[in-house]
């Protein structure tokens, strides 16, 4: 171990500005922070999934409360989200190349995919034979898909906002890509959660 012991009593090493420079302008850690937050957010879903699986294993449902879920709509929804991850990625690459119009077009496509997902989800809700308070299965189903739907809603709104901000003269540009990259990371996360959710709630 190398030893470089500043003597504690040496007092302030006065050099006016150099210091400020070297530690003040640290690299941008905001994406790292967002990733950390998404780990935490993922744990919320993990908790819900664990509860769902435990309920399923130990709490038998009352007579007539065992449902076969329709798979078509959720499968289309899975596809929508997967495609939207891809389109978002394209938007990101376009921004890097400073091709704002293309970026905005891809963003719009992504937002439309997200909103279609939400519409399809609502359609499914209205066609289901059970409600929120009917039984344990219904409650858990709506709680988990609802919590995920909230994430998609938020994500779609953010996409529309950066779509607006990336117009000519807006604040999102190839120099300031953070808003787009943050939203993209978040969007991939939401899609990833859906894939797990689809597996657990629909396929299992």
């Amino acid at each position: 171990m190398t030893t470089s012991l500043p003597s504690p009593s040496s007092g302030p090493v006065a050099s006016e500005h150099s210091a400020a420079e070297s530690t003040e302008h640290h690299p941008d850690h905001r994406l790292f922070g967002l990733a950390t937050f998404l780990v935490a957010d993922g744990m919320t879903f993990a908790g819900f999934f664990a509860a769902y699986l435990t309920f399923r294993a130990v709490n038998p449902l009352p007579e007539g409360a065992v449902y076969e879920l329709e798979l078509l709509l959720p499968s289309i929804n899975t596809l929508l989200l997967l495609v939207s991850s891809f389109t978002f990625h394209r938007a990101g690459s376009a921004l890097k190349r400073d091709d704002r119009p293309l970026c905005r077009r891809w963003l719009l496509v992504t937002a439309i995919l997200g909103l279609s997902f939400l519409a399809a989800q609502l359609k499914e809700y209205f066609s289901l034979p059970f409600g929120l308070t009917d039984n344990l299965y219904g409650s858990t189903f709506y709680a988990i898909t609802g919590f995920h739907g909230l994430h998609v809603t938020l994500g779609s709104l953010m996409i529309l906002i950066i779509w607006w901000q990336s117009r000519e003269g807006g604040r999102v540009s190839s120099q300031n890509r953070f808003p787009l990259e943050a939203t993209e990371l978040y969007w991939h996360f939401v899609d990833g959660v859906w894939v797990v959710l689809y597996g657990i709630l629909y396929l299992l």
């Binding site: 500043p6 504690p8 530690t23 003040e24 690299p27 908790g47 664990a50 509860a51 435990t54 858990t140």
Partner: protein, 539 residues
């Protein structure tokens, strides 16, 4: 960004103006002190509630307050002490104040998020307390087990949930900041294995916060649905499962005990080497044992549920896992003992409180290992034995470390020393009070007194009065402390930059530190515990 490096004293004083502490400041030192003062205010409220509980328990009958109120006070005491005192202070206050110094930064990674995290706490606290006046506070204990929490004091319970959600959010935001600051904000040239131990403790703690708090948040949201929307997740009458709540709750709340105690381990590791003039013994094993505790801490939760109808294999697994936490914990204690051994120890109040912590925590740790044994726990679970156990840990452990830290860092923060005789008085009153209050409770539990009761078998009266006397002593012990803190701020001996001749970076700047921490470049400290290696006391 404009940055004014303070060049004269007037500037230094300027940034310490008191008004800053009531506003939305992004300075990590201001935020740290905001956490600290706010935490202490809630500590006094929680302490007053504890006094009310111990007064009720002077007699075996329920005569001091109605039974419902006893349960409200009990719930408030626990919630305030955990979520508004220990967690914010031992993480938020010391973490925000110290971590940027330790990594050689000018602030935390996300200063604005940091301020937001703090400012979630006062509203949450006020919300919690307001439930008293909005139709009654929650009465189901800080664990809020359904179905009891679904059927009593619904409004109070919902407010309790909202408040805990806010506090949990604050804690998560804080953790994001600590992780990023420790991992990403280190001054160039500073390696992870050269960081002061408190950084590692906060890293471990923040990992626990990030992995476990969201689960609690999700669970409480479901619980609030059960109350408000009449779903039946945890309501057996509607086909739900009350025990699943316990699993989810303890998945957070066992790690929570490490969220309360790992930072304290870190702080003690900073304090002891300075005053024993010796390097921290076994730095590397200390780091590994923190990480081992983090890992094991996540897989032991069901030791709180040995009587909840858990299947035998689960009991077996959780007994073994829990017992094994004693190993990394033991390593840390032996390392502290070895740090003291052969040192040149100054017996000041900071050291007394640190050693008091070791003694109390060893006691609580031993009863903890006993509690981890299923057959042992079946008898004493949910009795005063457990109350004794965790107060030895939380009060005798963490609160003692908070006090040790007050005596150790007060000179840095205020620029003046705390008074030693008053400090020693504070220590002895607290130490005797704690042991008088909580040691007899183990006997109560073994002999048949359950916890959370306002009335009890008359044969237990004398021991309960003994315990209440200890509580009174602890209440009295805060007086010398308060007087000391206020008096010393004006009259205390001037501390100078480094009164302890310490080597960790926060001492290598002025007391109190300037606006952006350093008068110039942040020092590069490779050996934060290099006592005796070189002679630092050259001056």
């Amino acid at each position: 960004m404009t940055l004014s490096t303070p060049s004269n004293l007037a500037d230094t004083q300027e940034h310490l103006r008191w008004q800053r502490y009531f506003g939305f400041s992004t300075d990590h030192k201001v935020i740290g002190l905001q956490y600290l003062v706010c935490g202490f205010l809630f500590y006094f409220i929680g302490g007053a509630l504890a006094g009310a509980l111990r007064t009720e328990l002077l007699t075996p009958i329920s005569d001091f307050m109605p039974r419902e109120v006893y349960n409200e006070v009990l719930t408030m005491h626990g919630t305030i002490m955990i979520f508004l005192w220990i967690v914010p202070v031992v993480n938020g206050a010391f973490g925000n104040y110290l971590i940027p110094f330790y990594v050689g930064a000018r602030d935390m990674a996300y200063p604005r998020l940091n301020a937001v995290a703090f400012w979630m706490i006062p509203p949450a606290g006020l919300l919690l307390i307001s439930s008293y006046f909005l139709g009654g506070a929650s009465q189901s204990g800080w664990t809020a087990y359904p179905p009891l929490s679904l059927s009593t004091a619904a409004t109070g319970q919902v407010i309790w949930i909202l408040s805990v959600l806010l506090l949990g959010g604050s804690s998560i935001f804080g953790a994001i900041n600590f992780v990023a600051t420790v991992l990403k904000m280190r001054r160039p040239g500073l390696k992870m294995m050269q960081l002061p131990m408190y950084c590692w403790a906060m890293l471990g703690t923040s990992i626990l916060v990030l992995l476990s708090t969201p689960v609690l948040a999700g669970t409480l949201v479901l619980l609030s649905f059960d109350i408000v929307a009449h779903t039946g997740f945890f309501n057996p009458a509607m086909g739900g499962n009350a025990v699943v709540y316990q699993h989810l709750f303890w998945f957070y709340s066992h790690p929570a005990v490490y969220i309360m105690v790992l930072p304290a381990f870190g702080l003690v590791s900073e304090i002891l080497p300075v005053h024993a003039r010796k390097p921290l013994f076994g730095y590397t094993t200390m780091v590994y044992s923190i990480m081992a505790i983090v890992f094991l801490g996540l897989i032991v939760w069901a030791h709180h549920m040995f009587t909840s109808g858990t299947p035998p294999w689960m009991r077996l697994f959780f007994t073994i896992a829990t017992s094994f936490i004693a190993v990394p914990t033991g390593i840390k204690f032996f390392n502290w003992l070895a740090t003291l051994w052969g040192g040149s120890i100054s017996l000041n109040t900071a050291v007394m409180f640190s050693c008091g912590f070791i003694v109390n925590f060893v006691f609580g740790g031993i009863t903890g290992v006993a509690l981890a044994q299923v057959p042992f726990d079946i008898h004493v679970h949910d009795t005063y034995f457990v109350v004794g156990h965790f107060h030895y840990i939380v009060y005798g452990g963490t609160v003692f470390v908070i006090f040790a830290s007050m005596y150790h860092w007060y000179p840095k923060v205020v620029g003046r020393m705390l008074n030693e005789p008053l400090g020693q008085l504070h220590f002895w009153l607290t130490f005797i009070g704690l042991n008088l209050c909580f040691a007899p409770q183990h006997w109560l539990g073994l002999n048949g007194m359950p916890r959370r009761v306002a009335e009890y078998d008359p044969q237990f009266q004398f021991i309960n009065q003994l315990s209440s006397a200890g509580a009174l002593l602890m209440a009295v012990s805060t007086l010398p402390f308060l007087i000391n803190v206020i008096w010393s701020a004006y009259r205390g001996a001037v501390a100078g930059d480094n009164p302890w001749n310490a080597l960790t970076p926060e001492w290598l700047t002025s007391s109190p530190p300037p606006e952006h921490n350093w008068h110039g470049e942040a020092p590069l400290v490779h050996e934060p515990y290099g006592y005796g290696l070189k002679s630092p006391a050259a001056s």
